[in-house]
């Protein structure tokens, strides 16, 4: 295991260090160039200490990474981790070590209770589950709703949110299955994913299915849309990689799928500037997750610049946003916290339709 701080600033006599807790390799490496450039433009000398071992075992790697950050000299805050489970593991370490943590897009309910040093930029899983259930009932007029989810904190939280919203409206989840968060399989592996889904459809006979999956979500969407011609499929924010699957489907079939994303202020000048910067550097539009992550880095850098290199004062500065201090103007909208949480509006989109 290697831990190599990557210098983000230069020639700073005593640079501040921000932990970048996104360990997975991702296609957005180029996006980090956007971030670094933005950090340089703030005038605050910060270094980004990154996790650079994507081959590390998945389990416990988040806690390992958090411990490394906690012992890194000059560390003033951490951005991450990706996903609710890792964010919670890391949050326990950061709250013990009194290190401010900004979580850009993890939605676990437990993040709100883990301690005063953790700040989340989006709402929690239960809120999203309730949003999906309400959409299914009110917009799709569904009466029989099933849930397919991963068995981790994210999937369970979202399932609970759906169940609570349905219960409030006098309905129940007609069937629920758990699937591992694996990549889409082919051949026998595809059967392994397909068969439980088909059995669930047989048992519950749903008219809408809510997916709380990760990387396996795309192939499950494909299975569901192909196997049931009238079935509506709603994907939570964790369902990724659906573009290629949906592109291979006819329009009428593709139209039965809706995905959740955070409602960003796309007409806002800040957003427009951010989008233009990304388009210039990466030749594409930024994703909502990228926007949230961008805000997290810049927000932490602003806190360091305002409060100075002192973790207690940085935490107090973050906690005071919206409470005696104006909300911070992020590309995802004004940022303020109540008990470490920020409420973000959600919206349903049909991939490829732009809405």
């Amino acid at each position: 295991m290697l831990f190599v701080p990557v210098l983000a600033g230069c020639r700073a006599p005593q640079p501040a260090v921000i932990g970048d807790a996104f360990a997975e390799p991702w296609e957005g490496e180029g996006f980090m160039q956007v971030v670094r450039r933005a950090l340089d433009s703030t005038g605050t000398h910060v270094q980004l200490a990154r996790w650079s071992s994507p081959d590390a075992p998945a389990l416990h790697s988040a806690a390992d990474q958090a411990l490394r950050f906690a012992t890194t000299p000059g560390i003033l805050g951490v951005v991450g981790h990706a996903g609710s489970r890792d964010a919670i593991l890391g949050a326990k370490v950061y709250n013990s070590a009194h290190i401010p943590q900004i979580v850009p897009n993890a939605t676990s309910r437990q993040l709100a209770d883990v301690g005063p040093w953790t700040f989340t930029l989006v709402g929690d899983d239960a809120d999203e589950g309730a949003f999906l259930a309400t959409y299914a009932l009110d917009s799709l007029h569904a009466t029989r709703i099933a849930v397919i989810h991963v068995a981790d904190e994210y999937g369970n939280g979202l399932r609970d949110g759906v169940a609570a919203a349905l219960r409030d409206r006098g309905a129940l989840i007609v069937d629920e299955i758990v699937l591992p968060n694996a990549l889409c399989g082919v051949g026998p592996d595809r059967d392994v994913q397909r068969l439980p889904v088909l059995a669930s459809l047989e048992r519950g006979n749903p008219d809408a299915v809510i997916l709380a999956l990760g990387s396996s979500g795309a192939c499950i969407v494909d299975i569901l849309l192909r196997e049931r011609p009238t079935l509506a499929v709603l994907g939570a924010d964790g369902v990724v990689g659906t573009d290629s699957v949906l592109a291979a489907l006819p329009d009428d079939v593709r139209a039965r799928y809706r995905g959740v994303e955070f409602a960003l202020p796309t007409s806002d000048s800040t957003w427009m500037a951010f989008r233009a910067r990304v388009q210039t550097m990466l030749h594409r539009d930024p994703t909502p997750s990228e926007a949230l992550r961008y805000d997290a880095y810049l927000l932490l850098a602003s806190a360091i610049g305002e409060a100075g290199p002192n973790r207690d004062r940085i935490r107090e500065w973050l906690a005071s946003l919206g409470h005696g201090r104006p909300a911070w103007p992020g590309v995802t909208g004004p940022v303020s916290f109540t008990n470490g949480r920020r409420r973000m509006p959600l919206r349903m989109v049909t991939p490829g339709s732009g809405a």
Binding site: A182, D191, A199
Partner: protein, 916 residues
């Protein structure tokens, strides 16, 4: 400033630096040992323990999960067979699916305990692969279950075979992890053992070094610290005990060495000063002794062990008449000890020298000494031994106590006189402490309180004082103690043991001691119980007299009215033309008037002024009559008994009043026994002496009496109630249940009969009334009752009355009897008529109570003019002091108002002077 070290002093580091070096060395040593233990042994042991625990947890969890997966696998194969036969067990499939999903959730929620950042990379890899393979197996099994549910048997079979193929790698991974973990633990055990061995070697070496160091440090501390301090301690102890000839040896030139030098210089200075002080003190002592001897009020004599005088003070010269020069060197026995004591003195001195214990030394004795002129004087002697150098001497302080003896004798004589006066006084005397306790009482006081002198001494005054007098006692004592009054005179009551109360008149004063402080209280006590009782009797008599006068006045007027009413009513009965109904009405009016007359008579008993109506009364018969009446009418729970003498005593009295008196007593007894009891009547003849009569007011005469006892076993009375029961209108009964006149009338009845009454009552035990009535010798008989026939006659009758209505009706009555009537308005007019000659007058009926001239005076004057003319007194009430017994001589007879026609006719017929 420090003194230079002595020649034998060695140079050495300071004590402070030595102790600092020792302390730092000890601290480093301890830290080293602790550090070895903490950094060598503890981490290795902790790692070993942690690794073992994690391995155990992981192994147990893996075993459990593997067992569940194996069981599920077996069941799924069985269920697959059932699916092939077309009978899929959906409930079981659902159960297995739910179980596998729960395992999935719990696997994601918790990682293997051994998968820590500190775990070896190889173990982490093995555990991670195991977790991943397990998850894969669960996924495939879930797919198999789904295929069976669809149902797609062939697909389910494919999935089951795939699951089977995944099971083996999982077991292999588990075995590999277990093997690796055991190997790792073994390696850590070896590491721990190695660390422990090396640590023990290091510790043993350093313990040896420590032991040597401790010996060295102990020697160093003893030589540098303990020995000098101990030497200084002993030296200081000797100095503080007064020994100044002390010099210590300093061994090192350090703080303690310099301290020792300072100590030595200090003791040498102190020695010089002490010598100078001693010489000065001896000179002052000598001078002071001389001064004391000369100024002492007592004679001071010093003798040696052989009895020769060594010192003789001026006071001794004055006391004994021998000068100092005459006495120094002379035997004291020859000069001031009387002849008869000399031998004993010489013997005791010799015995003391031989070692005997003296009975004289250090004591104060009273002896007799002899003066130069041979006279003897009493002295007070104190002798104390005195060491002068090595010789034993005795100092004697002698005081002439002649005056003291004389004053003590005077005090003793005074005390004896006081004691005699105190003991033999005719009045009670008591000495009471300031706390209110009797400290001395005389015989008379003891008699007053009804207790013995020994019993009273030590007793609180509150014990014998009536509760109502306690407050006034306290107030009087306070005023005396505050010197507001020189003495206090007052009356108070003492409670006797038998429950009776003694009244006393006290004169109390505070006696002060020689310093002027209050010492005790002296009371002179005079028994006034008898005076108090007589005073109460007098008050009662006066009260009754006043009421009697009131009743008498009323009775007079009342009887006049009744006379008129009764007269007209009777005349009406004899009037012609009156109907029978009218006659009956007139008779009823007359009867009511007679009852009214009885009421007036009862009223008069209150004042013992009942008109004379004495008759022979058989007391036993009277008592029996009342007892019979009450036994028939009272509650059956009241037992009525009588006890009568064999010979019936007879008295002269108003039987009706006596009957009423006994009945009143019986009624009171009944009311005192609401729950029943015993009411007894008794009568007996007794002889009363003059003392007894005097005790009851003095009106009764000594002689033979009959005593009637009325006794009940009721509630009894308190002393205060008993004192007031004969007061008119005093009642303890509820309002409306008693007039308060019953016992007053009893009292009046008894006294009007010349008798006496006594009451004994004890609360909750009962009450007894003793009625003493004089036995009758001259019995007078009143007019016969029932003589209702009219005796007519002829003659001239003068009716004298100041009441016009009475005059008119009596005139009509007299005319009705056949007589001629003349009337006079009062006594003066009656006398004038007789004086101016009215020879036809045959009899005069005179009212006794008239204005201007009373009936008695009028009678006396008429008698003077015409002694032969019979006079009859007609009176409703006669003042007892209006002429006393002499009036009887002026009147031929009496007729009490109101009277009826028959009585009037009988009286006139009896006394009318026969004409010519």
């Amino acid at each position: 400033m420090s003194a230079p070290p002595t020649a034998r002093t060695r140079r050495a580091p300071t004590l402070r630096s030595t102790l600092l070096a020792v302390g730092v060395g000890a601290l480093v040593y301890v830290m080293f040992v602790v550090g070895v233990l903490v950094f060598r042994i503890a981490p290795a042991a902790a790692r070993l323990q942690q690794q073992g625990q994690m391995m155990l947890i992981d192994y147990r969890d893996s075993q459990q999960r593997e067992a569940v997966l194996d069981s599920t696998m077996t069941d799924l194969w069985r269920l697959l067979g059932a699916s092939r036969r077309g009978t899929p067990a959906r409930a079981e499939l659902e159960s297995h699916r739910a179980r596998l999903q729960r395992m999935e959730e719990s696997a994601l929620a918790s990682a293997p305990a051994g998968l820590t950042p500190e775990a070896p990379e190889e173990l982490r890899s093995i555990l991670s692969n195991g977790v991943r393979d397990e998850q894969h197996l669960r996924t495939v099994m879930l797919a198999a279950i789904a295929a069976m549910e669809l149902p797609d048997v062939s697909m389910a079979e494919r999935m089951m075979r795939r699951a089977d193929s995944l099971d083996t790698p999982i077991n292999d991974a588990l075995a590999a992890a277990t093997t690796f973990a055991l190997r790792d633990v073994h390696a850590r055990e070896i590491e721990l053992a190695s660390a422990a061995r090396s640590t023990i070697r290091v510790l043993a070496f350093w313990l040896l070094i420590g032991a040597v160091a401790i010996a060295f440090i102990a020697t160093l501390l003893r030589d540098r610290l303990y020995s000098p301090l101990s030497s200084l301690d002993r030296g200081m102890a000797r100095v503080s005990a007064g020994e100044l000839d002390v010099s210590l040896q300093a061994r090192h030139d350090d703080e303690l060495g310099r301290l020792t030098d300072h100590f030595n210089r200090m003791t040498s200075v102190l020695r010089v000063r002490a010598e100078m002080e001693k010489e000065r003190s001896e000179r002052e002592t000598e001078a002071r002794t001389r001064l004391i001897l000369e100024s002492a009020l007592d004679a001071v004599i010093v003798i040696d062990a052989t009895g020769l005088v060594r010192e003789w003070s001026p006071r001794a010269e004055a006391m004994f008449g021998w000068t100092r020069d005459e006495m120094l060197g002379r035997s004291i026995a020859d000069r001031i000890i009387p002849e008869k004591y000399r031998h004993a003195h010489v013997s005791r001195l010799g015995a003391y020298r031989a070692g005997s214990v003296s009975r004289v030394l250090n004591r104060t004795l009273e002896l007799v000494a002899q003066r130069r002129d041979g006279t003897l004087i009493p002295i007070e002697l104190s002798v104390a031994p005195l060491m002068r150098g090595t010789e034993m001497e005795f100092s004697a302080f002698i005081r002439d106590i002649t005056e003291r003896h004389e004053s003590q004798a005077a005090i003793a004589r005074s005390e004896a006189r006081y004691r005699a006066a105190f003991e033999q006084a005719a009045v009670g005397m008591a000495e009471v402490t300031r706390d209110g306790v009797f400290q001395r009482v005389n015989r008379v006081f003891a008699q007053i309180t009804g207790r013995s002198e020994q019993e009273l001494i030590g007793m609180s005054t509150t014990t014998v004082t009536h509760p109502d007098d306690l407050e006034s006692d306290a107030v009087a004592l306070q005023r005396l103690m505050r010197n507001e009054l020189p003495f206090v005179q007052r009356e108070k009551r003492y409670l006797r043991p038998d429950g009776s109360v003694a009244w006393a008149k006290l004169a109390t004063a505070v006696v002060h001691d020689a310093a002027g402080a209050p010492s005790y209280v002296l009371s002179v006590v005079q028994d006034v119980t008898e005076e108090k009782r007589l005073e109460a009797e007098l008050k009662q008599a006066q009260k009754m007299d006043a009421i009697g006068r009131l009743a008498g006045g009323i009775a007079h007027d009342f009887n006049n009215l009744l006379t008129t009413i009764m007269g007209y009513a009777e005349l009406l009965q004899y009037e012609e033309g009156v109907s029978k109904q009218g006659r009956d009405d007139a008779r009823s009016i007359a009867t009511s008037a007679r009852r009214g007359a009885d009421l007036a008579r009862n009223l008069l008993t209150l004042a013992r002024r009942s008109p004379d109506r004495r008759e022979r009364t058989d007391v036993p018969e009277l008592v029996r009559e009342v007892a019979t009446l009450v036994s028939r009418t009272f509650d059956r729970r009241i037992d009525v008994t009588i006890e009568l003498p064999p010979v019936a005593p007879v008295i002269s009295g108003d039987r009706s009043l006596l009957h009423n008196a006994l009945l009143n007593l019986a009624l009171n007894a009944r009311d005192a026994m609401p729950n029943g009891g015993r009411l007894s009547f008794a009568a007996s003849a007794v002889t009363i002496d003059a003392e007894f009569c005097a005790r009851h007011g003095g009106e009764a005469m000594p002689g033979e009496y009959v005593r009637i006892d009325v006794r009940d076993t009721g509630e009894g009375m308190s002393a205060s109630t008993r004192e007031r029961i004969f007061e008119p209108f005093f009642s303890t009964k509820e309002p409306g249940k008693g007039t308060g006149l019953g016992l007053a009338m009893v009292y009046g009845t008894v006294r009007s009969h010349g008798g006496m009454i006594e009451v004994d009552s004890v609360p909750d035990e009962g009450t007894t009334f003793h009625l003493y009535l004089p036995l009758g010798s001259e019995i007078e008989y009143g007019p016969e009752d029932g003589a209702d026939r009219l005796i007519t006659g002829r003659g001239r009758v003068l009716v004298v009355d100041d009441e016009q209505a009475v005059r008119h009706v009596v005139s009509r009555m007299v005319e009705h009897l056949g007589y001629e009537v003349e009337t006079a308005n009062d006594g003066l007019e009656a006398v004038a008529r007789v004086e101016h000659g009215d020879p036809a007058l045959d009899i005069v009926i005179l009212d006794g109570n008239m204005p201007r001239l009373s009936g008695h005076e009028a009678a006396r004057r008429i008698r003077a003019l015409r002694p032969d003319l019979p006079l009859v007194l007609a009176s409703g009430y006669m003042e007892p002091d209006a002429g006393g017994e002499s009036w009887r001589a002026d009147f031929a007879g009496t007729v009490p108002k109101p009277y009826d026609l028959a009585t009037l006719s009988a009286v006139i017929a009896e006394h009318l002077a026969p004409r010519g």
